[in-house]
């Protein structure tokens, strides 16, 4: 069936001359110009006398020690990422649970399929040794 455009926005919401694109672009240009002018003025007028203290990374007053590139164990990241993935998928399952009875068996089978895929992913990670913590001596 032919549908009419819903009045989500006025028909000429972004017309060139009405308050819309035109004023927006003026505003955009103004922002751009202002930023550039400020930065340029600052570099042009500002005085530069670098010293050790000034060049030091700002850490809220604490004098930094050591290198910024700390060595963290890789499994930490792996587990963090896995947690993130599976945690987010939980959102879908919750939303299904809210409407569990309305969706019926069809919904149940769909979410089961979804969970099965998740489990498959978990098995894959397990098999590939993604969950192992600490050094392993197994030869791959």
């Amino acid at each position: 069936m032919p549908m009419q455009p819903l009045p989500m926005a006025e028909a000429n919401a972004l017309s060139p001359w009405q308050p819309g694109v035109f004023s927006l672009s003026i505003y955009f240009a103004a922002v751009l110009v202002l930023t550039i002018v400020l930065l340029a003025l600052a570099t042009w007028l500002g005085e530069r006398r670098p010293s050790v203290e000034k060049l030091r990374a700002y850490e809220s007053g604490i004098i930094p020690t050591g290198t910024a590139r700390l060595r963290l164990p890789v499994p930490f990241f792996m587990v963090a990422i896995f947690f993130l993935i599976f945690d987010v998928e939980g959102a879908y399952i919750f939303s299904w649970a809210v409407a569990c009875y309305d969706l019926g068996w069809k919904g149940w089978s769909q979410i089961s399929f979804f969970i099965a895929v998740l489990i498959l992913g978990l098995i894959y990670i397990w098999r590939k040794g993604g969950l192992e913590w600490g050094p392993t001596f197994k030869k791959r």
Partner: protein
């Protein structure tokens, strides 16, 4: 009955599942994955061919199975089959990742099949992302980890950038019309396309597809990814991925009705810039894959000419061009894969003396290159003829002349390839590329296809006409 229409997708999903399982088993034979993948891909091609006449609307009308979609599915499965056929020596990918490589190839093909059938903004977006994510990971599987990761990261960043732009466009489209079904948009969009909001929405939406097609201004990934990806995967990106992008662009652009000249003008501008940038950059390349990447960008410009006509002739031309690109680009990459037996990146100089080392491969490369340059009697010429005459039908004479000028520019670097393969002799004698019997058969078949389809394209043009009739 619904499952019958969905067979090709289910088949490829099952294949992907199988490879998930295979990836978890202990490896006994390195060739096992190749043979399994080859037979599965061959089966996939047969399944797609069998389902070519299926029709129907699935999943709450978000998924349309028609001749247009099914034809593109055949092309996609053909691309997958050809690419898998190249993988007999998958030296660019570490041994332990072979199963995952095929798994992701099948997933990506599945996603692109979903893409060509999607007629709903959300399903288009989801399948587009699925195919992109598969490719991001695939690129990173390169054995030379530094190269692969760098390319994958670049691909990923530009990909999510364009994806965000596209999502913004989709949101604006919804804001302007309140519609998400393409079938509804077809009826509403032509009436409101002259509104700036809608126009901006459409252009931003197309951005996502331009990324897939490696069209200006979303083309920056192409050279790095082609070079960084394993050779076989580069072949896949250059062929199947482009085919899917052409299909979805045709569907979406056709939905705008073709009345708005500003849209046509902006698409024409993008096509011109794409061709020119691609061709000019290709002139100075030394790396063979990088050259092919820039040539892809230029070719994407030619395809866009067919798409922006928004006429049945233009759609025919674009469909035919997609097929032509598949064959031509694949043949070029066949040469890349066979020349770089160690899985590295061949330079143009590596082609020296190819006519002596492997006459068949040199001939195939020459035919493919002349096809890309649009010289008869090759499939590339017919494709260009269709595109140009479709554009002339709509009166875009200047566009055609610019495109032709670009063809002349491109001739120069295509001639450089021919020169490298046929006219120069290698400084150091390099071993001849090894072509097994099946590889010879494949190469011969490609040569014959390029020439025969170029010489007698009638059945395919008729087929493309039938397929495009559902668009307009």
């Amino acid at each position: 009955m619904m499952w019958q229409q969905f067979t090709p997708e289910l088949y490829h999903f099952a294949a992907a599942l199988l490879f998930t399982a295979l990836s978890m088993t202990r490896r006994v034979d390195n060739r096992r994955d190749y043979w399994v993948a080859l037979s599965l891909a061959g089966g996939g091609l047969i399944v797609c061919l069998a389902a070519v006449r299926a029709e129907g609307l699935l999943f709450l009308n978000t998924y349309k199975v028609d001749l247009f979609a099914q034809l593109f599915k055949v092309l996609l499965s053909m691309g997958l089959f050809l690419v898998v056929a190249l993988c007999s020596e998958l030296n660019g990918v570490a041994r332990r990742w072979h199963s995952e490589f095929y798994l992701l190839l099948f997933t990506c093909t599945l996603a692109m099949m979903l893409l060509v059938s999607s007629v709903h903004l959300i399903s288009i977006y989801v399948s587009l992302e699925l195919s992109s994510y598969s490719l991001y990971v695939l690129v990173a599987l390169r054995r030379d980890a530094a190269m692969g990761t760098q390319a994958a990261l670049r691909y990923f960043l530009i990909g999510i950038f364009s994806s965000a732009i596209m999502l913004f466009g989709l949101a604006l489209l919804y804001a302007a019309t309140g519609l998400t079904y393409l079938s509804d948009l077809v009826q509403v969009l032509p009436g409101v396309i002259d509104q700036p909001l809608v126009l901006v929405a459409v252009v931003l939406t197309l951005g996502g597809f331009f990324f897939k097609l490696a069209l200006f201004p979303f083309h920056f990934w192409a050279p790095d990814v082609y070079v960084g990806a394993p050779n076989q995967l580069a072949a896949f990106i250059a062929t199947a991925s482009k085919v899917a992008a052409v299909a979805v662009l045709l569907r979406v652009v056709a939905a705008t009705g073709g009345q708005e000249t500003l849209l046509v003008d902006s698409l024409a501008a993008l096509a011109i810039i794409s061709m020119t940038v691609g061709n000019l950059a290709a002139l100075v390349q030394k790396d063979f894959k990088r050259l092919l990447a820039y040539s892809s960008i230029a070719q994407a410009g030619y395809v866009l000419i067919g798409i922006l006509c928004m006429s049945p002739e233009g759609a025919d031309a674009a469909i035919f061009y997609a097929l032509a690109l598949l064959l031509m680009k694949f043949t070029c990459f066949l040469a890349v894969v066979k020349i770089a037996a160690d899985g590295g990146n061949p330079s143009l100089d590596a082609l020296a003396g190819l006519h002596r080392r492997s006459p068949l491969l040199a001939l195939a490369l020459m035919m493919a290159v002349f096809a890309l340059a649009g010289i008869p009697p090759t499939i590339g010429f017919t494709a260009k003829l269709l595109v140009f005459s479709a554009a002339m039908h709509k009166g875009y004479l200047v566009l055609v002349l610019i495109a032709m000028f670009n063809v002349v520019i491109s001739l120069y670097y295509y001639l450089l390839i021919v020169k490298a393969a046929y006219l120069t002799e290698p400084a150091v004698e390099t071993p001849a590329p090894v072509l097994s019997l099946s590889a010879r058969a494949l190469t011969t078949a490609l040569i014959i296809a390029i020439v025969v389809v170029g010489f007698y394209p009638n059945p395919l043009i008729v087929m493309a006409r039938q397929a495009s009739s559902s668009l307009f």
